[in-house]
Subunit: 192 residues, 4 copies
């Protein structure tokens, strides 16, 4: 089985998920000053954060599938499971936004990101299982260290959200920054 | 005629159909407890069910077109007919959701799924007609047994919906599970 | 310049345009009988009509680009012009729907379809201009007869809409049926 | 690393961004005269302008990536940064629309376009950096002259918007026209 359609379908879903979030940014009718735009800053920042998370997942999905040689039905389902959780990002982003970062929505946002990462790890495992001899896949998976760090930090942030929701948000931002920084080792593996 | 653009267009439509359903999940403004999230559970479950049905149709469409060698105008129209019914899934999902699984919406949901399966069978037939000598297509079509089981079960569920809507929903879930389980025979045919 | 990205971008736009129309089909909350679903029939039929028009344009665009060997900047702009008018279909479909087929919206709907066909002819001309020696393109363009029939019929329907809007709608349906019927001559040209 | 998925993902995002703007065009319920359609003209014109800007960015992105031979992680992020700003176009288009071209929304619209162009230049620079010996990329980048003219004109328009918002809009239209006109030099470079 070829992987091209899996990539095409995933790309379609990624781009729709990322873009429909912008529909949640409601236009301030009758508010035509910079101040009214500034009042939307928290909303914009949540949008930026979710866009960056979407982008991180897309880039890693891109690397993972570039190293994949073939797919089976289990991988198709593993990918659909990952995309399902990803598709909930706009909903939980809107929940945080419309309730001014209340504890439970902030914790739920982190929990969703945790589930997305875990379902991504499951997809990695399913691909690894049928490519165990393949050097490139193994090296791509080396970035597992960053994944475990993210999982621990998100777990911490979810607990923290109930007392200090903004501290949790700060950790979410920190995790995102950690992933945006280039991984020199992976880069080298991929350019070989 | 090549099949690549048919696949690309179908993938685009599949991903939009699946993702716009998430727009129907309205954020509970001012409700910031886990209880309010739990109150959304029935909505989430309908979303999960429709996502899984969309995923099942995508996977089967993927297998079918992977085995297809060439397409003609009739197949293009058969595919568009299938995609038309598929595009109505968000509407009927929302109708079930916003009326707490009332009998008629639940029956209509099942009837739509029945029509989608029948239009998929028609597409299979149209592809089979111009590939009759091709072994892979024939073996892909062997999963017809599951299709007929689904058609019978959905017919039963639609009738049942008028008295026991939740029993109908249970059958819809059962049909979905039946398709998620791997088909070892098909898997072997495709990996040859 | 290669045509692959032009096809991919067009497919993306086609699938979004066709699918967002389903968002206009508002769920009848609190209405849970078949009668309430029947009350939506006119809406559904307009959706079907616009879906079929979208499908016709996609199939012809598919054939035209399959015969195209190379593209230049003028063709890119001709294609974007065609897609622009296509993107207005959801708006004019909704205008007809929400005003029970009032004369002006019905006439405007026909006028839009006329402009889409004319912009499609312009695209054909731009492609023809740089492929004048190519037999396949020439034969694909032979279906010009159907195009001119559509243009005349749509012109007639627009005028008629002011007195008999339903007669205009009947003509729109007739034009769509004319295109859905297979063109044996074109089919043969494409399978060579 | 191959560029195909970067193109596919970008095309998906471009087509969704361009098409969801049409969702902002609300249907005038109960208004069924040409006059009521004419009353929507300013809205339509803003939609046309944003569609044309989207189309210009797509065409240039298309040319740039056609000349690109390989991509690295930095380019993936540069592209995502460009797409992020692009995804905000529907929001700022709606802000201008719903406030009848008030000074601040008009200035913000121009500022967004300025940021999109600057992030596009950054992407060009990142691609140029790893292709410095490649003649086609260098020639594609020659259109930098038009970019600097746009940047200056948009800067001027943003300042002007506070006193004469319509003059600013006129400059936005002028910049768009400048880009729609073909660049003979680039055309020749690409057809070689």
């Amino acid at each position: 089985m070829k992987k091209e359609r899996l990539e095409a379908f995933s790309d379609g879903l990624f781009s729709v998920v990322i873009t429909i979030m912008v529909l949640e940014l409601r236009v301030p009718v009758g508010h035509v000053t910079w101040t009214s735009l500034m009042g939307m800053l928290p909303l914009f920042l949540t949008y930026v954060l979710s866009f960056v998370y979407g982008a991180i997942f897309w880039i890693n999905h891109h690397h993972l599938l570039a190293a994949t040689l073939r797919v089976d039905s289990t991988i198709l389902w593993g990918n659909l499971n990952f995309l399902f959780w990803l598709s909930l990002i706009p909903f939980f982003t809107a929940w945080v936004d419309e309730n001014q970062a209340a504890p439970v929505p902030v914790a739920a946002y982190g929990a969703l990101m945790l589930i997305v990462i875990l379902s991504y790890r499951l997809l990695e495992y399913l691909i690894f299982r049928i490519h165990h001899g393949n050097a490139l896949v193994v090296r791509t998976l080396r970035q597992g260290r960053r994944e475990w760090a993210s999982i621990s930090l998100l777990g911490l942030a979810i607990a923290l959200a109930f007392w200090y929701p903004y501290a949790a948000v700060a950790i979410y931002i920190g995790v995102a920054i950690m992933w945006v920084l280039p991984d020199r080792e992976l880069e080298e593996a991929l350019t070989d």
